[in-house]
Symmetry: D3
Subunit: 234 residues, 6 copies
Amino acid sequence: VRPAVFTGPPRPPSDVVARLGEHGVATVHEARGRLGLLGTDLRPVWPGARTAGSAVTALCPPGDNLTVHLAIEQTGPGDLLVITTTSPCSDGYIGELIATSLNARGVTGLVTTTGLRDVRDITAARFPAWSRSISAQGTAKDAVGQVNCPVMIADTVIRPGDVIVADDDGVACVPREAVTEVLTACDEWAAREASAREQLRDGALTLDVFNLRPLVHRLDVQHLPWSDSGYLMP
Amino acid sequence: VRPAVFTGPPRPPSDVVARLGEHGVATVHEARGRLGLLGTDLRPVWPGARTAGSAVTALCPPGDNLTVHLAIEQTGPGDLLVITTTSPCSDGYIGELIATSLNARGVTGLVTTTGLRDVRDITAARFPAWSRSISAQGTAKDAVGQVNCPVMIADTVIRPGDVIVADDDGVACVPREAVTEVLTACDEWAAREASAREQLRDGALTLDVFNLRPLVHRLDVQHLPWSDSGYLMP
Amino acid sequence: VRPAVFTGPPRPPSDVVARLGEHGVATVHEARGRLGLLGTDLRPVWPGARTAGSAVTALCPPGDNLTVHLAIEQTGPGDLLVITTTSPCSDGYIGELIATSLNARGVTGLVTTTGLRDVRDITAARFPAWSRSISAQGTAKDAVGQVNCPVMIADTVIRPGDVIVADDDGVACVPREAVTEVLTACDEWAAREASAREQLRDGALTLDVFNLRPLVHRLDVQHLPWSDSGYLMP
Amino acid sequence: VRPAVFTGPPRPPSDVVARLGEHGVATVHEARGRLGLLGTDLRPVWPGARTAGSAVTALCPPGDNLTVHLAIEQTGPGDLLVITTTSPCSDGYIGELIATSLNARGVTGLVTTTGLRDVRDITAARFPAWSRSISAQGTAKDAVGQVNCPVMIADTVIRPGDVIVADDDGVACVPREAVTEVLTACDEWAAREASAREQLRDGALTLDVFNLRPLVHRLDVQHLPWSDSGYLMP
Amino acid sequence: VRPAVFTGPPRPPSDVVARLGEHGVATVHEARGRLGLLGTDLRPVWPGARTAGSAVTALCPPGDNLTVHLAIEQTGPGDLLVITTTSPCSDGYIGELIATSLNARGVTGLVTTTGLRDVRDITAARFPAWSRSISAQGTAKDAVGQVNCPVMIADTVIRPGDVIVADDDGVACVPREAVTEVLTACDEWAAREASAREQLRDGALTLDVFNLRPLVHRLDVQHLPWSDSGYLMP
Amino acid sequence: VRPAVFTGPPRPPSDVVARLGEHGVATVHEARGRLGLLGTDLRPVWPGARTAGSAVTALCPPGDNLTVHLAIEQTGPGDLLVITTTSPCSDGYIGELIATSLNARGVTGLVTTTGLRDVRDITAARFPAWSRSISAQGTAKDAVGQVNCPVMIADTVIRPGDVIVADDDGVACVPREAVTEVLTACDEWAAREASAREQLRDGALTLDVFNLRPLVHRLDVQHLPWSDSGYLMP
């Protein structure tokens, strides 16, 4: 990979980004046809963290965070920094000084497939951050990858300007061309869920609320009285 | 596995269930002769979650939660839903709508070997839930396994009507035939621990409180003054 | 390994230990030339736990915590108990009774490569503890390893009297001979970071604050305007 | 667990055991209704190993193989030794001396959830053995578990006298009460596969040989000409 | 994902595919600018397996291999079947019957992120196959994903008609548009390696053959006589 | 870590090294008092590989193998190259060109905690090599660590001139000061094993050969006739 920084990527409308963030990861994932989840191993640094932003990407060599410093210069208000490496690395690429700088620039959060350190300070500052691990291990500054290239996390492409949504459920990506369409689908999904929620609170069964009984009937599911000897043990 | 729902399993006395829950996982595990722990990878969705209930079980195909909807219909007050799959799966089988429904039915909690989503909402509702992973990945509704069959988690059998106890230490199972006996043993264990705790707070050593010195003597443990060169480095 | 307890190891000055603890793991790790981190899998039992102490070590057989009871007798105010095993073990070597005893003896914390139980009680007591896993699984008392021998965690040697620093970022070890030198380096590091923090809050870039531009120039990093087709997809 | 050796368990007919072994793990698993597989992490010590036998079980403390020596005394011709531990352990419980002894007693193989050593000698002797790991780490002889108690591996119960079948695909267990029935089902399954194999070799499609087209039709699967732009990238 | 089969994808020239296969995974990976590796966990079913082919892809639900049967119909001579799932699954999607069918159709190999069974037969037939795990666990036939859609493995896109190269080092993908260019780069790379190999056999140092001394000089690497006390222990 | 190459380390007598290699990993490990094993995840690249040598060490940055090229220059006949990294890395640090060079210099083998590539060629050349993973992923040449510093693998210190023994069971290290003493202990251990082997082949029990019956008696192990209902299921 030739060292490069791509400048001036497109950015989606900030109000759309914010509204996707309010819907949260699970709803956005469903509204996008169950695409765009960034796996199950990106965890929030502090419980309750929740954000959305326009992706600025950094592809780094393992054990070296110099590329992150180049990426910071490309960020602005409403952006969210996405960091990954050319081969897996758990080192602490990010600490409270970088979080402080991102915060000062109006960046809405940070997602990294590497490790992260200064958990106490980042938690105290309520800066939204997701990482694969926590590690105080420092990094070198010997080599540069690319900033604002497309990157891949958990078999999902993330391009600069795509929308990243993150909360306690993990992280999801929405391609920038699809944000309006996905937002509409989110609104519809949320409306359906609100209606279902009311019925379930009142004691209705999901089998009825989601109209699953005809399907169960078709699958020929038998209901039998329980008895202690009616099973083959595995 | 033929699709089936077994109805009307036995349930242990609710006051015994509640008292086992108050003792917590570590005490119940010791009182049962160190049997019945469901491994180390079932973690509470929110810190401090703590519950007990009578197991209603669901054995699901991977990637498909239709069986869970059939299981909900079999639950009632004091039950706890236990979900596992025929092959390992980290998808998000459970979200806040199902948690809302379980809550409305008086179900005391949820344990699943799959993933779970809507962490924020489930945490806000203080619904007690344990899972192996957090994942927003949605599931299909194409096939049915069995409800209220015996299931296995971490080499432990769980049958409907067995008691599940869960807290920050993990999850344990007590066979329904043994609940009274285990409760008695828990009470005795807790009494012994209370006495030991007092002595330890006052500065006594565990070597004395638990009468370990004769054993240490038998094992011929030597006490030697420390010196910097007295070790073979590994 | 012959069963043995080494008594009376050296201890570093308590005020130096305390000041290292205030600097925290990330700073101590950097100040020590990026040595001494105990890996990424030792996690605090409760968020925000933070401590430092003089190591008392216990090397135990797998599944057997009798050695821990011998180690407790060797602890005093300002010590921190470090537990590891001769082969990997996730059992619950430590519970609230042992934590209570350590607390009563003025021990400042606990680090174990095994599992730990009674999370609720240890959290309530605010006793600082780090472990690789949470497990209610009980241990035997059949055999003894060594107390106050050097132990290894994550390819790092820990000798009795070395300083252990632990917080949300993990755990670090400082050799007792180096504590004064490392503390001086920590103070310098923290002063530099304080200065940088101010500049970053005011909007300065890390590229300038850390003087990285000459290096970036030497590496011939190109800045190019972004375009959607300018990338080779992986 | 109280130290105990259970003597004189039932044994299934040796010719039935041998014929199940010839069918192999995949066929036995299918013939048993897809039950009884012992997970995916038990691997043969040498490629091509293949055996079957009547289970003699040993449940050991972690890091201690004394129970294995008690189990050897309980084995005879046609038996297969199954070793597991009360908490997970990767130590080398078995080496070439034990394999030599088992071989001398007519034991047909060995399955252990622990580690195993002396791979070179065991391979040279063609003694069939499966383990979770390879490790030269020695074990203690301080404590005893149980011999010929039921044990659990990968959520499957194994009782003494159950049939263990093992090959390159892994390990499966057939309850001793079901061996005749499972053997009949294996014979039928193998006959069906032989017929299908011939047709597939002649160029028939599995869609036709297994009569899958009606199902595909019911699921409304569309066939569309390929075009480069017809996909939503994940 | 809507059930669909895309028919008639483009295929690269078969002689180019064959020559890429002869170069092998490591050379192809280097010649493609270090892109296109499918991770480190796809392992050959038998040592020495080596192949190349034009990708036919199958994206399956977890635990269900019906899509594979639809994919077989789309394969022809020179194709290589690539199987993945919408959520991770270790079940045995492929056995010797499917391998027999693929072999009969002239398919050159098989790569699956799932499990695989009948290792003995597939090895005996020398059918080239790579998988993430070995598992006899059978799959259902309840649902269909897509055939010849783009799929992702280890953050790499694989489209039908892309070239898959596989050997003992793992699996790599070359986009169909790039095959000629990559083949040329492979030829050049191999020629350079052949020249280097001769020099190294004659005792030359890689520092000289690859002209690394100027770089080492620039990095100011010191050469110092060894002494036992010259190191800071970690 | 400052870039440095330490030259001219001590080397143990080559005949002692060779004889330790003949004893193999399990015997050396036992003879050293069960110290010095380098974990369970270093696996031979080809089955049956077996070697011993005097360690030349290389500590590399993650993703960068320039240090390895500096290390090659320090190797000579009878040496064995040991490679590790400052943070975990699975990239392919070593391929057949480096193996060819090491072979030409009389180096007896290679142990690396990283990945390795060109498995086919290294296997064909019968060059003894152990690694944690197989990966074709190439490395950079941007930075240098240290050559012939002490390194750590699996909590074991390896210094230049220590003896490395490796076979199918894994890898072990013997400190250079202890080689003669360990060799004597190996010879004794092997003699004892030869005697036991003969007795076991003749049908003796390990309980008698290793004189374990008094211990079993002391532990009060009961022998009870088997019955199907005599167990508490877990």
